[in-house]
Assembly symmetry: C2
Homo-oligomer: 453 residues x 2
């Protein structure tokens, strides 16, 4: 990880202030595009723009893709359509599609029309048709493709032409005359097998591949399972459409787990530590207001209980433990389901098996917890038997209920194709708070009657 | 993603029951090692063991690495040391090290001594010395290495010897006479540059690399930044030690975000949806008991407040809203810090800047929330002005406190090199519950005095 020292940044700022193009170019030449992108984050927009204009087109395009979404949009905002089109021409098609999807709808056609390379523009237009959350939305068209009937030397000759302006190439995809995917040839084999045999006898047949409409999380799962660094994408009858690279999949894995974590933490929209105060508040206030609404609901429930609270004030002491325990239990149960669904160790078809298991885990937890509070209260509040029994029985019921809700809700959301992570965190916390209170109020009222209080 | 139908599984079980080696071998021949590993999860241990013994050594080793940790250990438990040693001989050194680290300490030396290939055993022993959480702990020694002074044809000849029994190769690492890393040669260049020039004129100089003691999260960050599929590892003076592959990094990214999520959800140890009921309870009960202890503490705090509760029962109605809001605010603030630290958008050196920002976000949230509850209570409980003011002022204080604690605790843990995710979820929830109640009790007591109640 490159660290920019304050001294280095001062030097760069000094060069920019003096508008010394030559020195600036020399400083940038030493840096990887990803490092230039990182440097921009330490500079003002006008400083970054000055440096950006000095870059060669290809480097400029790479830097653009390495920037944060926000920084990229700022830079693009001030850029003429002509220049954006030129950058896109230098990008891999999958990156180009990502970039175009960030632009305003009305700007897109204008920019696409300005791309010099018509083939590149056509590929991009085709790729834009795929759903963002599928293999098709993640793929690019830059790949080495050869016919299965070529000989190895013919193949190498063909590859030299194709590979000219491709950056990172790890596999050659082998197709038949109908462009159906037949096999994969790791580049390594081109070096270790300099034979005159036909490609189809050297290639690996039946390669791991995905259909264009495969959901992204399944694509990620396949990459992890087969340990590949790129995977071909085919249409419904097996014709080769494009390829997905591992860096895009890794971004996806990180982003989707970040999204789950944020949902579970009560953040309603994608927000980062370096976002503005307003953006931060906007992401947080919805769940907080829902929390307040549920707190008000809780106060209404408790107000129906005011007579009992007046008669036995000790009942009020255990309001926090009821809600807190329900929340903790529900978050645990739902986190296990959400994570199991994400990493494939749980399948939504195992609904009833998982539920049965959770009932047993719930019974075990509920017994331990109720026993602890029962013993504590018997010793510490010997005169309050009605309260003691109300609390112990309520906790047992709350733990069981929270366990079931924490299992059922995310599994149901998954069945409905809604992100199950939405069910963890505030949602489960809040619903358990409310239901927990209802349980407590009901059970305590009953015990008070029995004890004639 | 391969799905095994019940019919297919019945067929396989039937073959196993009849102990028909030939048919079983034929069925396995069609499957990728990763698919065989998945099949095992649907079979009994004895069935899986029968199939496992039919595999060729190399496939068997690959299947072993694709299994879940639990399933792998079960299979290894019944395997003679001789056989384990043979499997390890077929694994890449990084996988071999992972496997050996799972074995009992006393078995390790015995197995290492039985490995036929002494060089492989030596490499493994060297690798075992590195800390698991560093680049050294993740690297393997299988790589193509050539001297910078070779010509391209010499290099290709050299590679044919080296690459013979390596699976996946994407780069050639170029070293000087002291074995210091000088450059990287993507395999693609060997095909597109069939020149007679020396390697050092074709290679990419100054390649992205990591030192052996670089922490794993920085390694992952570098992979994502530079979009590479493998990265060389060097010692403190730049000599090449090994390489890290992207599949191991991707596992790391997923595992570390799963770990964060679990810690944030109050799961004290690594647990999966398909783990046993006892394992599940063991992972959950610690935080639940801590929650119960804090609930008891809350009841003690409230008992000092019993006189006021008896005088003004309406005060009890707002106990849930105080704790709930503190918890929600704390979880949000800490999740943003934890995630910012994990994805690099926040640096622990920006402690005071982040804190200043959170103060402003907190003030905004606190103002909105207090106003909402103030207006609600003024309208709904017009006769309870003391309660209304107590709740509104307490909520303001609780939101500010929870925001600060949610920011300070994870940043402090990060400084102390403790996983900051530990600070989110139950910890922040519980401490905010307690402090929230103390604030509420204090402020309400003061208002009651002012109003002479």
């Amino acid at each position: 990880m490159k660290e920019f020292t304050p001294e280095y940044l001062d030097q760069i700022r000094d060069i920019i202030d003096r508008r010394n193009d030559e020195e600036a170019r020399a400083a940038l030449a030493d840096l990887h595009p990803a490092d230039i992108a990182e440097l921009y984050q330490d500079l003002d927009l006008s400083e970054a723009e000055y440096l950006y204009k000095l870059l060669e087109d290809e480097t400029a395009a790479e830097v653009l893709m390495e920037l944060d979404d926000d920084d990229r949009l700022k830079l693009l905002d001030d850029m003429p359509a002509e220049m954006i089109a030129k950058q896109i021409d230098h990008l891999d098609t999958d990156d180009a599609v990502d970039l175009i999807q960030q632009l305003d709808e009305e700007d897109r056609d204008d920019i696409l029309a300005r791309i010099d390379d018509v083939e590149q523009a056509g590929d991009i237009i085709d790729l834009l048709k795929y759903d963002e959350d599928t293999a098709g939305g993640l793929m690019g068209t830059e790949m080495l493709v050869v016919n299965e009937n070529l000989s190895m030397p013919e193949c190498i000759k063909e590859l030299r032409t194709q590979a000219e302006d491709m950056d990172e190439i790890y596999y050659v995809y082998v197709v038949d005359n109908d462009y159906k995917l037949r096999g994969v040839l790791p580049l390594k084999k081109l070096i270790t097998h300099p034979s005159v045999s036909k490609i189809k006898h050297v290639m690996e047949v039946d390669p791991a591949c995905v259909k264009a409409d495969t959901p992204i999380d399944e694509v990620a799962h396949d990459f992890e399972k087969y340990d590949v660094v790129a995977m071909p994408v085919v249409d419904s009858i097996g014709r080769l459409l494009g390829r997905i690279t591992v860096d895009d999949v890794m971004d996806e894995v990180r982003e989707s787990s970040e999204r789950d974590y944020q949902l579970a933490s009560g953040l309603s929209s994608d927000v980062d530590a370096d976002d503005s105060i307003l953006a931060q508040t906007k992401a947080r206030i919805p769940w907080l207001l829902i929390g307040i609404a549920s707190g008000i609901l809780a106060s209404i429930i408790l107000s129906t209980f005011e007579a009992q609270l007046e008669a036995v004030t000790a009942l009020a002491l255990f309001i926090p433990i009821i809600g807190g325990t329900g929340g903790n239990v529900g978050v645990q149960a739902s986190a296990i389901v959400v994570q199991g669904l994400a990493n494939g160790s749980l399948d939504v078809r195992e609904f009833s098996r998982q539920l049965g298991k959770e009932v047993l885990v719930g019974l075990l937890n509920a017994s331990i917890i109720s026993s602890v509070i029962l013993v504590y209260n018997l010793i510490m509040l010997p005169s309050q038997l009605a309260v003691t029994l109300s609390v112990a029985v309520s906790l047992f019921a709350v733990v069981m209920f929270a366990t079931l809700l924490g299992t059922i809700v995310p599994l149901t959301l998954e069945k409905l194709h809604i992100n199950p992570a939405l069910a963890t965190g505030p949602f489960i916390q809040i619903s358990n708070d409310i239901v927990g209170l209802l349980i407590y109020v009901g059970i305590a009222t009953w015990f008070l009657k029995i004890f004639g209080l």
